[in-house]
Amino acid sequence: MNWLDRSRSIAPPGFNRWLIPPAALAVHLCIGQAYATSVYKSALIGHFGLSQTAIGIIFSIAIVMLGLSAAIMGTWVERSGPRKSMFVAASFWGAGFLVGAAGIFTSQLWLVYLGYGFIGGIGLGIGYISPVSTLMKWFPDRPGMATGMAIMGFGGGALIASPMSSALLKFFDGFNPATDGADWIASGNSVGKLFLTLGVLYFAVMMYGVLNIRVPAPGWMPRGWDPSKAKVSAMVTTKQVSAANAIKTRSFWLVWAVLFLNVTAGIGILEQASPMIQDFFRGADGNSAVNAAVAAGFVGMLSIGNMAGRFIWSSASDLIGRKRIYMVYLGAGALFYVVLAFFGGSSMLLFVAMAVVIISFYGGSFATAPAYLKDLFGTFQVGAIHGRLLTAWSAAGIAGPLIVNGLLDAQGKPGTMNAHNYLPVLLTMVGLLVIGFVASTLIRPVDAKYHEPEEALASSRKGS
């Protein structure tokens, strides 16, 4: 299909670059559904008659496939251009839902693993990295803001998918508030119909992105922006480094460690958000002042903090520099974790404020990462390098819950703990952030021996 080729998606003269962020957001808002799977988890447990773990594996496969496909397919995404890779992402993400629906209707869990987990997970990984390098090429003057806008969409996708899925499940099941109680759980049949609906809907919205994404013509610059007059920083290279060479550098692995540690620390709160706030405000009589509805409000607040942090902090990094902003994420994050651990139980407002800011740093670290990679390695294969960096996310997705659950299991049973029991977990998170802070200070410009020779870059431009 020639219309998907990079050469067919070069923007004509006069193209408005502000058409690109909605195209990128169309993809990220759809794949962000991955954060909203808890809506139908109980329904799937009831439908298949299996444990939480067996159902949880569906989502674990998807997240592992996200990291693997981003890392493995990153170079292909860079070579093929955003239109073809976004089309492949839309096809995999949509097909994943359809195969998953078949698994639900026929009560075959392996088909759900294959569909949503494996096939959908590939769509997640390719979709996540597809528009990122293109955005940075369109906004060389504000790369942090540009990637922040798209990656904010991944956080925002859950905010849309969660209430929309609840409403659709109620519609398919004929929910009646007068007869169905607060503990109503959707039927498997309605989850199957939800998967069918989401598969078709997400494919259609992502196709808007496919049809509207453009790459800038070679040599294009924003009007009035002169790269030679841009603020010079030793941490922002004008050279280019290939993905194969980038992973040989110390700086890449330091950025990997920084992202891994910051995400692991953020997951500490995200994983435990609802029980954590109830435990922090548990009285001496064993009853919590926070009920399930209020705890759900806290989880919603964290989602908004996660989304807003992606845009706000990533945009701020254009002004204060990528290295400095990561030191804020890690240094101030560690400080806020200490405040949360020792004083969080004294005031609901303080507890919520600290948690929201920490989660905004978690989101910010995701959104700032592509611009940091561009600063260190140039735009030549930044999408592919970003794909390899996302393995840090997969690793943190495994390490974070293991650390948190392991430490909390040693403290007591769920529903009986208080703020004091969270000290080991929270102080462990402080330790991780301090290590990350030190790693961040060690990041240096990439050695010239890793730079691509000019002739190789020139021939690559001719070939693309």
Partner: protein
Amino acid sequence: MPAQPHDAIDPAGPAGVPVDPSTGRLVFGWLLVGIPLAYGVITTLSRVGQLFQ
């Protein structure tokens, strides 16, 4: 003088008013992503309100 980037203005607008052909696509694109996002934020904020009641 050859056309320059960002100069693509359609002179055929009503009453001779220049119309940037990308304006409609811009509005549609941002509404397509903005309306669902606003829906998500508003429904989430309505849950958040219970935190401070």
